[in-house]
Amino acid sequence: MDARVEVSKLVKSYGSLRAVDGVDFTLRAGEVFSFLGPNGAGKTTTVEILEGLRRRTSGEVRVLGLDPWTDAERLKTRIGVIPQDFHFFPKLTPREAIRLYAGLFRSTVDPEELLARVELTDKADSYYDTLSGGQHQKVGVALALVNDPEICFLDEPTTGLDPRARRSIWDVIRRLRTEGRTVFLTTHYLEEAQQLSDRIAIINFGKIIATGAPDEIITKYGRRARVRFTGDAALADRLRALGFAADRVNGGVEVETGSKGDVLRVLQAIEASGLPWHSFTTISDTLEDVFIRLVGRLEDGVLPASEKPEAVR
């Protein structure tokens, strides 16, 4: 697949602090790629380096084949950016803002059509400072699209928005994807990353600790699927005696199941035991479980060497 962004061994230091500490990733054409991580993980620093707003300390970065720092002038006409904490001039209206950008970019975009695309038509003539937080972000999206960009960089576009406004921004991001644009998204909301992304990189302390499609990450870093049912210790003992990995958890029994066949065999075994049981459910890790496992453990600094994910160097 066609690479739009290529990053290798990217480092950004502020004095002794390494905000970005050797990051590698590739952005493929037409995908939504998310940087997921807690605040201060290095997401914004990375995205600002890609946008040409910040100079890297070392490493290789190519965005649309250009070096974003030295070729910023050429790059900015081909990318769209909604920076973190987007603000605009308080006494300009969305329509004037779009016209200003269209003039600066020499873009032939139709302001009315763009306003409609981000659902701002009825607020087109209201001063920016009278708009809501969600509408502010929509102005940001509209401005990012004025130059018909090949890649859109959205840095925490829904932070601080209410759920309705957040969903409305999500719709806009989905539309960007269907229009064939490549999207680089940073977020600290798991749901957002899971809902929107083709691929995710989980970043913490300036390092990428997991990368892949949400399902791949869960498969790779999550615990194995389990079944859970209500039963007593005797039942758990019986299953262990039969070679299953069974545990008493919260008044129930949980058994690891590697395959679909395992599930069937567990069912047969408990039925054959003659012991009382009910409420049989299957459990698998969500992205959130994985995230907490990876990021939470890293933050405690007790990630055991055997479990250390490959991406961590």
């Binding site: 946008e51 910040r54 100079r55 904490d85 603000h87 006494k91 300009l92 004037e96 970019f105």
Partner: protein, 366 residues
């Protein structure tokens, strides 16, 4: 530098400015209010007369009437009369908060006719300052005139009073260029300090840096705006000064350099002050520390020639002094060689500070 982008951005900046009533008030309306207030307070004192309360106790004599007519022709005092029945004039004056009074004694006409020395009683209030002197001088002058006539003499030595230059300069003629200087100082300084600090906080420079607009283009559009603003303000102030107070000022081409280089200098200074401070609040403080002394000590409200020597020295190191001096030299005295000195001083400062500001003021972060 792409001029097309400068002119694309310019209207957006102008709209943002015009839609903020506070900025517009300080740049255009406030100087007009100042010219009206200061003009009314001070310009009138030159031409108007000191009020003098007269109690004529010899009302029926032609001699007393003649003396008062003489006093009236000095033009220095405006006479108002109280009747003899008002009693003691001194207590009348203090009762009515009046500071100057004259009593023409009873029998004034008889005494004058018979060459008997007669005394006029004059009350003045030393705390009223120069107006006491004006009253004393006027009464003395009228008395001398009357004595000369009674002695059958005629004036041999008479002075003729003329003003420097061809026109009669008054306070308002200094005030109008001074307030144009005020405008040139205040509107770029206050808004550039504000812009460079709050735009930094709100990441608006970062937002602009995502577009093809360059820093130089942004600065050009901004400068253009403040030059236009200063020019509009100058024409407004001259119009009001002329219409209301009959000021003798004209905007000539000699004033043009100051309307351009002045705003350039203060935009650079404001940008510098805002860029070096970490928060909008500290920027505001730095801006005020720079602006206020300059506002009062550069000849904005009063001609520097009236300052004591040590304050003159202070004025001469303030950049605004050269802007206002240049405006005076061009708009009032029409003196090109003096204008040249001022242009050179302001021009050099503008270049130096623009270079400094360009060094310090940055859009991208390293």
């Amino acid at each position: 530098m792409n001029l097309r982008r400068v002119f694309v951005y310019f209207p957006a900046f102008a709209k943002g400015y015009l839609r903020n009533p506070l900025g517009l008030f300080f740049s255009l309306i406030f100087p007009i209010i100042l010219v009206l207030i200061f003009g009314a307070v001070f310009a009138s004192s030159g031409s108007s007369q000191v009020p003098l309360t007269v109690q004529n106790l010899d009302h029926d004599s032609p001699q007393s009437q003649e003396f008062l007519a003489l006093l009236n022709t000095t033009g220095a005092v405006s006479l108002s009369f109280v009747s003899p029945s008002a009693g003691n004039l001194s207590s009348y004056l203090s009762h009515n908060s009046l500071s100057a009074g004259l009593v023409v004694p009873a029998g004034f006409g008889y005494d004058v006719n018979h060459s008997i020395p007669v005394h006029l009683l004059v009350y003045t209030n030393p705390s009223a300052g120069s107006s006491s002197g004006i009253v004393e001088g006027a009464i003395q002058g009228a008395a001398n005139g009357m004595n000369l006539k009674l002695a059958g003499g005629f004036p041999v030595v008479t002075p003729t009073f003329l003003n420097v230059g061809s026109t009669i300069y008054s306070y308002i003629d200094y005030l109008v260029p001074g307030l144009i200087g005020f405008s040139i100082l205040v509107s770029p300084m206050f808004s550039m300090v504000n812009i460079s600090s709050t735009w930094k906080r709100d990441k608006l420079f970062r937002q602009l840096s995502l577009t093809p607009l360059s820093r130089g283009e942004w600065l050009t559009a901004t400068l253009l705006w403040y030059v236009i603003l200063a020019t509009i303000s100058a024409f407004l102030l001259v119009a009001v000064g002329k219409a209301v107070f009959g000021a003798h000022v004209t905007i000539t081409w000699l004033a043009a350099p100051f309307l351009i280089v002045g705003p350039v200098f203060f935009v650079a200074l404001g940008l510098l002050a805002g860029s070096v401070s970490s928060t909008p609040e500290s920027a505001g403080v730095i801006g005020n520390i720079i602006t206020f002394p300059m506002m009062f000590l550069s000849g904005t409200f009063f001609p520097v020639s009236l300052f004591p020597a040590y304050l003159k020295t202070v004025a001469h190191v303030l950049p605004l002094y050269y802007v206002i001096d240049g405006l005076n030299n061009s708009m009032v005295f029409n003196n090109p060689s003096a204008v040249l000195t001022d242009v050179v001083v302001v021009g050099v400062l503008a270049v130096v500070f623009s270079v400094l500001a360009a060094r310090v003021f940055s859009w991208r972060e390293k």
